[in-house]
Symmetry: C4
Subunit: 211 residues, 4 copies
């Protein structure tokens, strides 16, 4: 594949702009989530009661807010290792952003359909979308490694750690998604725990201070 | 807790990116508010009359616009003191952004339910959300101080002043919230005054020009 | 008034962040406009016919897009003259952003009410919002001049030219608004022409290349 | 035309800000698309079934996400060649952003009207909007060349290649639009292929590493 218009020249600046664009999309997706939460008391119902009924919506809002927020942190950490971008990386990143931007839809479905077959369908779509995001993080990392787009200061041990971490992510989200076959709320809980482990747990040490 | 991937290396850049992401979320939340204001004349009603009826919505819009705008200013002033970020700070900031992004929902409820028990419920949620934001500002400051994440140029007097300021904020918003038990509009007025005092009133002097 | 937390220290950086936040709000407000345009054919109506009926909505969309786009350009040009910000300037800028963010509401009303008394009411609100923006540009400029917040390279001739320009803007938008008393579409046309004159017409020359 | 307020002074900074504003608008437009996708099962319909019915909406979402994402990449690549901006360029760029921001409307119509005369009308509007974007890219390039706004390092061969590329774009999108007269889905497929060719295919090499 031809190295194209996009990838020529001041590549570090390109990575910065790709990150800025991604930050914008993530910030918007996370903030749009609340637009889906609707609290409208029915005839004769008190607002306090209606808020109680809206709890599934508010829980789903909080869960997706956490997921996108932590994906942002991961995305930022990932792009700090990038020396250069190419068109394949651009497309992989665009797919990742597409799945994140898609999340408000399954979030709304999860809030509206909490039980039975529809509850399972909604959770499969929700967990599936998060799993697709985890797959795209792998794809981005794979492209960075294979096409030599990483900063030279990134050493082999760090690469191996990050690679393992991302593969675990895919399997973790896949298992969390399948838990909805037992009970839908298990998927919500498991994906939230996974996100917290990713941000609070041990993580690969950067090789150098210059990273 | 392990110092992780996120917190390694060029930390000042991390603080800048965290602030940029936060700015994005705040800018979006403040701009989305207007989407909740709906002016739809009923059969035979004039538009001028319908606009008169929409005044509670427009007042609520203006009040929340002011709150988010001044929170942005405070957030920016706060992050100018940051030398480095860690995962706890990241999560605390994410929680703050979550409460701010949540604000369009109570804003709409406050506009739709202006009297009686529902008016109180709506104002409790509105004031409670603002109080939660004030609590998170405290949590962020607490983490900055305890984990040694502040710039070295920040002196003890400045720290004490900021700490007191944030604690006063929590109590101020809590009292303002409880005023809705007397009359809902008192909460709207008191929170607006609090915000104006925070931006126009005396404030801790930065210790150095380099701050 | 005490020079506060906000205004201390690296002021040029503050101006840059205030501009970045404003850019975010303006970019979001301009992009949200399309959400108000709804094309829903009635029973038995063709889509082509429904699109024809939606022309007032599309014209209003285009007009507001132009207004916000050119306000962005003006805002950027204005902030290039800023050396330092203070709390009053911050509040004045927040008010300006509040009026711009409000614009989607009158834009929708103008599209829905095109004739008669309601058409006039809608246009008064639309033109009034744009006039309020012009007033806030004056307020910002006034604060910049009186509080000595301008870059030192800004000379007296430039100041005078900008001041006159902004005062003309207020009167121009005021007259354009009142034209709706003759016919609503005159306001839409006149405000669009005003915006084009502001961006394409002669303008004060910056005093120095370093501006 | 007078060289105005906007264009004086530190022009490279102006290009950067114009690009940042454009990035914001593009990031918002791409993220708003999902708000138009509505999955609401009818009485007695399962969610899985309703999701099946929503496939045209989801395909349209994915197609427009791809278009805006690749337009962002092109816009960024284009603005890397800019030395300076003027008011005409500003207006041309604003028109481009206006057409991109308009895209959520035809995207929704394409999802709702998939067959017959209405399907053709929707696709004509969708393809026509994309063609208008391609025309505006030409207009921006034309202004950059004619008004001497390009970086001096951009050589003649590069200019010729880019010029040809943009003209091909217009004709490509025009032909893709007209394909809807055979079958609406052909337009969706052809415009998606065009976008992929633009990002993955051969492209003009930048003349220098400093580009």
């Amino acid at each position: 594949m031809a190295r194209g218009w996009w990838s020529g020249g001041a590549q570090r600046g390109d990575a910065a702009r790709l990150e800025a664009f991604s930050d914008g999309v993530l910030a918007i997706a996370i903030t749009l989530l609340i637009l889906e939460v609707r609290v409208e008391p029915e005839e004769g119902e008190s607002l306090a009661h209606a808020l109680g009924h809206a709890m599934p919506q508010i829980v789903a809002y909080a869960a997706s807010f956490l997921q996108i927020g932590i994906m942002w942190a991961n995305h930022h950490a990932l792009f700090r290792t990038v020396r250069q971008v190419d068109q394949i990386l651009l497309l992989a990143n665009l797919l990742l952003l597409g799945f994140v931007s898609f999340l408000p839809l399954p979030t709304r479905l999860v809030a509206e359909h909490t039980a039975g077959a529809d509850g399972r369908t909604a959770m499969l779509l929700y967990g599936g979308t998060l799993t697709a995001c985890a797959v795209m993080f792998n794809a981005i990392w794979w492209r960075l490694e294979r096409a030599g787009l990483l900063l030279e200061s990134i050493d082999a041990a760090f690469r191996r750690d990050v690679g393992i971490r991302y593969v675990i992510g895919v399997f973790g989200y896949l298992v969390a998604t399948l838990l909805c076959l037992i009970a839908p709320w298990l998927t919500l809980l498991a994906t939230a725990l996974l996100a917290l482990v990713f941000v609070l747990g041990p993580s690969p040490r950067p090789a150098t201070a210059a990273l």
